[in-house]
Symmetry: C2
Subunit: 474 residues, 2 copies
């Protein structure tokens, strides 16, 4: 048995700062008190221990406290992505069979019409019911559920357990080290593993999280120059904005700033060089929802001589390349205590590992020193500003339009976002592409809407009639 | 599954220094290569994967390499205490049914006569047999076995698993932090958990161990003043010697030196104050063989305002006081992934925990902020220079002497060792106490031999005729 992280942290270091937001701070004791109160309020509203609960809200302290309250109640939190369309949210609520939806007042319009929900403002005003908080958690208990798409285009709800999160946090600390005054800047979404894992690490490490509800590049850059933080998680697009701002200010990262963890897809080499010139250590990482954050991370000391690599696995993790070709390239497989035990909902029965190995679908190789290089993403995955986009999901939407006969989606390079999706369609009746685009807007999160829709006579297919997405553009 | 620590560390940071001894250094790659070679040599000598193997030797690199070789072979290492008498060693070899004994040449005379063994020098010269090294370990696999006495006086072989050691090392890092250039001074015995846990942490953290085969107070103090180390494990008696040396030199600990971990019994308040004046951070810890090292540790920041406390539990651990009296004092009970699953040999069937809680027999209380205070040790335990001495074990030996009718042992305060044992005996025939002392010398480790043997007419007993050791001295 393992301790309830929030209780334990409040017990061990009650007076340490656990959260900073907009000039305000909360100690771990305060976070515990507030989240226990909120747990009692949720209980008064009918939420029971172990319920599966969907949550949506911007990255503000009330969201953190609501998450911690759910954790006190050992609820399985379905983390709703704020960028999703109503149709996408409806799918996740239906698939997860969430017993309740907790939503920030400002996000209520993102929900499908007539969704029963508890507004954060209502929860905060609720009466309280007495509860018996469990002081111990088990490794197999599901803490969070995050939806991720895949080859089929049907998003799958990935379970992330207490054991997964603990393994990830402890393996990470063995790689990047730890000091009592470390502080993590969080401007990545809390509904993604990149953001939620910052909260988990904060609870396990006793470190402060400095939370931003927007990617305010000016404020964030200033914090890196002379502020309170030592670490930050970025994706390529946010890293570039920070680099640009520092360059414009002719400023360097403060000497107390230690490291940026750069995930969510490859970081252009040029960015790494610019960061190096700004005294900004950037550690590239390879992680995914199914592995509760990092599997491999390139140490800063290796950043320049191993450019383009995602580094070596963290201590408790293993990586192997399945069925490598003559160049050693093959599917990246992952094993370790950080790998999800599986999915929920319609994919609950799907085996997530084979002999304990997660087959990622990503293609890569290990160099002679054992550094991982990821050369091609799974299932034609498009990564746009750190968000994963699966072509099949967009194609499924396009195919529901009455005028569309066939659809193929792929990513094209984009200076700002890394990649953006574009679509090729074969029509069965005349239609304006603007109409198809408007159709997509109702069904898809904004970042998934094809930036361009190209009408064509046929799509490239192989002998088995399988769509060859990589041949869409030639 | 978890990775083989030695392989994984050599893979992740091959060029980092893993061991320093006497001016020589070994990288993790080198330690791995040498231990793999030694594993092949052990295999050639007939040692099989998973065998239970007893090991004895001074704290020199060859012992570390032999231990790592046994770990590669997933052997269960019975760690023989070099201070034991032949009779005590014979008991442990018999009880553990060790398949082989590996012994440093200089220690061979410590073994019972006619013990079959492999000398380190012979192993080092052996041919090699090919082996298939297991890359993965399981949490339940036993890494080490250490004998500890108890109320019965019959030493029990405590299993310490991969999971126990990992939990201990990761919980410790969450408390004391970690930097890549941390280096641990090891002058505590490797056959004790205090020393072996330094090796485990080195493998998990990628930190250097600076090993000493003797407690050379001059060299060690100089290292703390201007050397390469950042951490050190001490017991009260060694701490005092270092303090004394620093005071005599009018020197302070170097600014890079971070912390001393002080275990093996209480540290006098005066020592803590003197350490404070020397800029030497001392963290008092409460640990035992059954918990693979620390359960609770007092953070340095709390050292002065919580003098005498052993601190709070490490993150993954829990402590509760069973059946507290009106003052909150009761038996200290421990739960967590660092608690041994049990014993071997004649105590293999003995349950070590009740509902998951290890009942230590130690008496203590938690203050209102949750800091642990240990006020009385289990089973009249005597702690002498960091070594545990159980009165029952000495009494058992005394009672085997033909002239002794009854025996009672307790500890008395000692300026140098903290405590030393003394004995009270009721005789059935005339005998010189020197003869009894000589008798003890054959049967007991030197530190267990009563410093004084007092002949008396009767021993203090309660109504049930139970010996009241605490009333021996009045």
């Amino acid at each position: 048995m393992y301790p309830n992280w929030i209780l334990q942290r409040a017990y061990l270091t009650p007076l340490r700062n656990g959260l900073t937001y907009n000039g305000q701070t909360w100690t771990f004791q305060k976070l515990n008190d507030l989240s226990l109160k909120r747990a009692r309020q949720l209980t008064a509203l009918g939420i029971k221990q172990g319920d599966r609960i969907a949550i949506m809200g911007p990255s503000k302290p009330t969201l953190v406290i609501t998450m911690y309250a759910c954790m006190h109640l050992q609820c399985e939190m379905v983390m709703l992505n704020r960028r999703l369309s109503q149709a996408e949210i409806a799918y996740q609520l239906e698939d997860s069979e969430a017993a309740a939806v907790l939503i920030a007042d400002e996000d209520v319009e993102k929900l499908p019409l007539h969704t029963t929900c508890h507004l954060f403002s209502a929860i905060e005003k609720s009466t309280e019911s007495a509860i018996d908080i469990t002081k111990e958690w088990s490794l197999n208990q599901t803490t969070s559920i995050m939806y991720t798409s895949g080859t089929t285009g049907f998003p799958k709800g990935v379970r992330q357990t207490v054991g997964n999160h603990q393994a990830s946090a402890t393996a990470s600390v063995l790689n990047i080290g730890l000091q009592a005054d470390d502080a993590w800047l969080c401007a990545v979404p809390l509904f993604h593993i990149s953001g939620f894992s910052i909260l988990v690490r904060s609870l396990l490490y006793g470190n402060k999280v400095h939370l931003y509800d927007q990617f305010d590049v000016e404020a964030i850059s200033q914090n890196i120059i002379d502020g309170d933080v030592t670490h930050m998680s970025v994706v390529a697009v946010t890293l570039e904005r920070i680099l640009h701002t520092l360059e414009q200010k002719n400023a360097q990262a403060s000497s107390k700033f230690k490291m940026m963890l750069a995930g969510g897809g490859p970081v252009p080499v040029d960015y790494l060089k610019r960061a190096h010139a700004l005294n900004l250590a950037v550690a590239q990482t390879y992680g995914m929802t199914e592995t509760s954050s990092q599997t491999a991370t390139l140490a800063n000391e290796d950043a320049m001589q191993k450019i383009g690599s995602a580094g070596k696995p963290l201590f408790f993790n293993q990586i192997r390349i399945a069925e490598p070709n003559a160049n050693g390239e093959g599917e990246i497989c992952i094993r370790g205590p950080h790998v999800t035990p599986g999915y929920i909902g319609r994919f609950a029965e799907k085996e997530v590992t084979i002999d304990g190995w997660l087959h990622t679908g990503d293609i890569g190789y290990m160099d002679e020193e054992g550094y991982l290089f990821v050369i091609d993403r799974r299932a034609d995955l498009i990564i746009s500003g750190g968000e994963n986009i699966y072509p099949a999901e967009i194609e499924n939407v396009l195919l529901t339009h009455p005028a569309v006969k066939e659809a193929g989606v792929c990513g094209i390079d984009d200076d700002e976002w890394g990649q953006v999706p574009i679509a090729f369609v074969v029509l069965k009746e005349q239609v304006q592409v603007e109409q198809i685009q408007a159709f997509c807007q109702k069904k898809l999160a904004k970042y998934k809407i094809p930036k361009e829709i190209i009408v064509t006579d046929e799509l490239p297919r192989n002998g088995a009639n399988k769509l060859l997405r990589r041949k869409l553009i030639n």
